[in-house]
Symmetry: D2
Subunit: 350 residues, 4 copies
């Protein structure tokens, strides 16, 4: 089969690889119809994720058809259309019992990381009962594939950890795909206002069209002052950090109201300064989280009921044969005005 | 009346001051029978609290008898024995409606700060209905006065923010009075183990007698390693920071288990390093809080029912005439083996 | 002043009464510009509320202008435009400290009940700081007056007690004003579907236009079967009872899914059968609640931000001089296709 | 092997049955060292549980040693000492993902119900990873076997659903084993008082020795009046119903304070009257629940840390050969002063 293979920092190739087979009785093999590229894939490409070794097939997002199924899979059948979750979970360990599937002792984020992933024609999914979600045949693949990673991440790490509730003023720092996923999912809880903060005016315009009530361009270094003005110096109830830098975390600390919640979503490479000399008295909460994907079924219900328009996160579409081009576009997202780029094997076949 | 007056950094005097009177219809004047000294009073004495000006009567803890009562106080009467809460709250503003009384727009921590306090024969209490709690006549004053500040602080900022629950392993960094108050109140939620961390072996022994299941002397800089050993490298479910230094906050970050809670209680003077490069993926929660004293009534019930032995926090007893000596003992707590020092006006009279 | 006065079952009169004055220092007197009629007023008129005595001015909903203000009111000023909450709360008692304002030991539902109410030119409001909410001058009175009672009731007793969350299937039994208020507020939490159940097709059509995704006419006694069909026999996650009869409570018990929530809002006159022989094993929750009005400020934010269209609950408009006619229309709501009927003193003046 | 077999209402026999074998790859076969009898077994014996058919081996509680293990069990090994949970759960279905294991689509309460149970020398456990808990070799079997059913039931259905918290006044109706399990576990949350209500003075004395602060004998029909006196007419914060009759549920309704929680644990055979004509305005919560056993690990931690003395629930001990006698004693619990009766295969062997 065709698959996108990582060969060390900066080196990707679309190659022929053996089609995966069932190894454990709880496995399924899925024929991929649709996949996409995550910001994390770009981190891998830079060599920042040491668990990804030379020869690994990348990708942890996908929609497909079950091709083969292990003897111990009980809730799925060959031929089922399924959503692939980025998170593998055994459903048995102490972390799974606490719904912390991202820390599953027998799983976690494995696909396109420590095992081969979804940017291929086929993928093997361990613990298939817990890692796959049956889809109605008529669901839109492009909407559904947004449930593999980006929407649960925005919802769980941003909106839910931030405890967004009706009437809140929410700020989101970073209008990339994850920030936009936080923006879409925050609206499920009806905040009174959402302020989007980014360096890029194009992304801020998209944020506005996605439901942001105010936008702030932070390139002048005065985003915090601007947000405090907008809130009559009260600060915001929730701030979601969707970048992963010391400077963006600083904005969060400067605008949070007493009693507020800072939900960190961004992947950080360095420590940040935490201003406890000021915040110790502010009754605030700071959270970190890997996506556990426990909200996937709820998000699927929202998409099927027409109350969440996931598809608008998709900006570009390619066939699998064009995936290197897709990486190029997604890797230059600001310049290319790219959000999520979708890779369709069906297009490839045509 | 006699009162302890602050005259700038390092300067305290026991002086004659006019007896306070009712100013607002919601005020009460209380004759103090018992008061105590808080770690915050030592901060004031060092000049670290700029809102405290020359001439201020110190103290925010106390038990007494209502001497005079304003016309709009509805739940209290002259002659009632009462507990004085450190927190003044109007019960009307947006923060009071969220039970964030410490941030009350018309109150907060005022006593012995921006208005005269309780280390005196009498004190004026604003919004008396919300700042005083009727006590049964036979309650032990020394147990009751532990409810003015120290026990609600340990409970609310430590135990509750840390979400201590049955079966948890809890660590507490700092075995001073606040850490010990966290230790006592954490046990209301039945953790399976409590590890106490401090530099002082005497305090650790007291912690053990107060219910700590393990103690770790951190003077060798290896407290975190020791806690990880004790937990078979799982880390702890909750860690309560009751010191306020970068080094103690570092211990917290090093021992917290995935999914755990770091509850900061300590007053910090400087920023700390937050290791988001490691913690971004750990599903942890960090909280800060001023005590709101919303748990006072519950704690009073626990004392009255005999299920919380507050009195054992008291190590020394003085009359009001000896209060400068009491400050001296409390200011050298480690050397003097002091926990809370109680000042009794009854002793003074005798 | 003109006021609507109750003179025993079935007897109302628009009469001249003395203008109210400040009695307590915490009072305010408000000139009413807009009021409305509640289903509870109809209960009073039938003689079902024994605390309402002959001579009482009715009404517990209103918007107006502060005319006079007591010396101990701290957050309001003469001339302020204000919303009147149906709930009077002292902000000091043990129930207020638990945010159970409806059970306030010095308040609760007093207006138009044990003290004179708002269906008049002026009203006295006790504990004005807690019973009045400042309104921006340009807010729509008709939208704002929906916050006095109906919207907090639907939200607190229905939506919040039912714990509506994204992805849920919600059923609401009863499409009168309270059921519709539950319907509007449930949508703040993004359920995937809302099934409205009523005897009246006209009300069901209104429910559909307000956001119900399915409607079921229960006049054939088969509503429960119909809902089970709609949910493929899974039942609903939340059911809100907004009628108050044994038969409607039975529908709730028959359609609740394991793990679900039955939120009772209806006022019941008789015991109901609770089918514990079936439900003991179903992990369900049944709640009852008086409205506490603690969500008023949040709902006001939602109206001001344009995210909640409260005004569409208004079907008829009258001047104060026409209030008897308004009662007549509202008392025959199904026939008259009436939802909330608004009484405007401004119209009266014109 | 020897096994206790049900042959229709009133008919039990200790018989030779084939030793169970692995059927699914997720199974384990456990050699039972200790089991016990549940009140539910007595219901079965009366013929009240239609899913139990002639020939079924009874029992859903047990401690033992893994004898054989399926190829897909990942967290357990042959020879491990294990606790058997009454609940079988697949860890994969929508109910398992909500931690409602009792409603597992592939499990639930199966043992000694729809499949053979633990009152035998060996038992087959489906989904062994989720239904067995490794035990340290030196744990006391009699304490551990209290975790199979009785303690999780008292904790989850009673204490947790009742939301017992520090300072609460709790009432428990019924001082049988389940009520006593609620009594023991309620104390993990430090209520200020626990009132135990029962018809039997002997059981009330045991309750007192287990931590009840007051006891009320309800045989005069005046239990509710007595509890209201004890609480100065405030009522109780939590009431746990551990009987399952209309009359005992009535006591609960009569003593619950506004804002309180009624947690039903009892198995009811008939509907009860719910007094909504009074309770609609009381802001109360009524819950029902099957035990999900999600707290088993936490309870095990509490036992291992010495903070929960489970063993004191055991009143009688027998060998497997004496199990019919054990049923006789347990079936006449009041007369025999029996709590839990433990069946040990080790005793049988000796």
């Amino acid at each position: 089969m065709k698959a996108l293979v990582y060969h060390g920092p900066g080196r990707l190739a679309l190659e022929d690889k053996p089609k995966p087979i069932i190894i454990e009785a709880t496995d399924a093999v899925v024929q991929i119809t649709t996949t996409t590229i995550c910001g994390t894939d770009l981190h891998i490409l830079k060599g920042d994720v040491p668990t990804v070794i030379d020869g690994r097939i990348l990708g942890h997002e996908g929609v497909g058809i079950i091709e083969e199924i292990g003897s111990d899979v009980i809730g799925l059948h060959k031929g089922d259309k399924v959503l692939i979750s980025l998170i593998t979970s055994c459903g048995r360990c102490r972390f799974c019992k606490k719904a912390m599937y991202s820390h599953c002792l027998n799983g976690g984020w494995l696909l396109g990381n420590s095992i081969d992933g979804t940017q291929a024609e086929y993928v093997r999914i361990p613990f298939a009962d817990n890692g796959l979600y049956p889809l109605p045949p008529d669901v839109d693949d492009e909407a559904a594939v947004m449930l593999s990673c980006i929407l649960p991440t925005g919802l769980e790490c941003g909106t839910l950890k931030g405890q967004v509730k009706p009437g809140d003023i929410v700020a989101i720092v970073g209008a990339g795909p994850v920030g936009l996923a936080a923006l879409l999912t925050a609206q499920l809880y009806s905040p009174a206002g959402i302020v989007m903060i980014d360096l890029d005016d194009n992304r801020l315009e998209i944020a506005r069209s996605f439901g942001a009530t105010q936008v702030v361009n932070s390139s002048d270094g005065k985003a915090a002052e601007r947000v405090m003005e907008l809130t009559q110096n009260a600060g915001v109830d929730v701030v979601i950090e969707a970048v992963g830098l010391s400077s963006t975390f600083d904005i969060c600390q400067s605008i949070i109201a007493p009693g507020g919640h800072i939900a960190n979503v961004g992947v950080h490479g360095k420590p940040v300064d935490l201003h406890l000399e000021r915040l110790w008295a502010s009754n605030i909460t700071i959270t970190t989280r890997l996506v556990d994907a426990g909200t996937t079924l709820m998000l699927l219900r929202m998409i099927l009921s027409g109350r969440l328009d996931a598809k608008k996160l998709v900006s570009h579409r390619f066939g699998l044969s064009e995936i290197l081009k897709a990486y190029n576009i997604f890797g230059n997202a600001a310049k290319e005005h790219a959000l999520k780029v979708v890779i369709s094997n069906r297009i490839a076949i045509v």
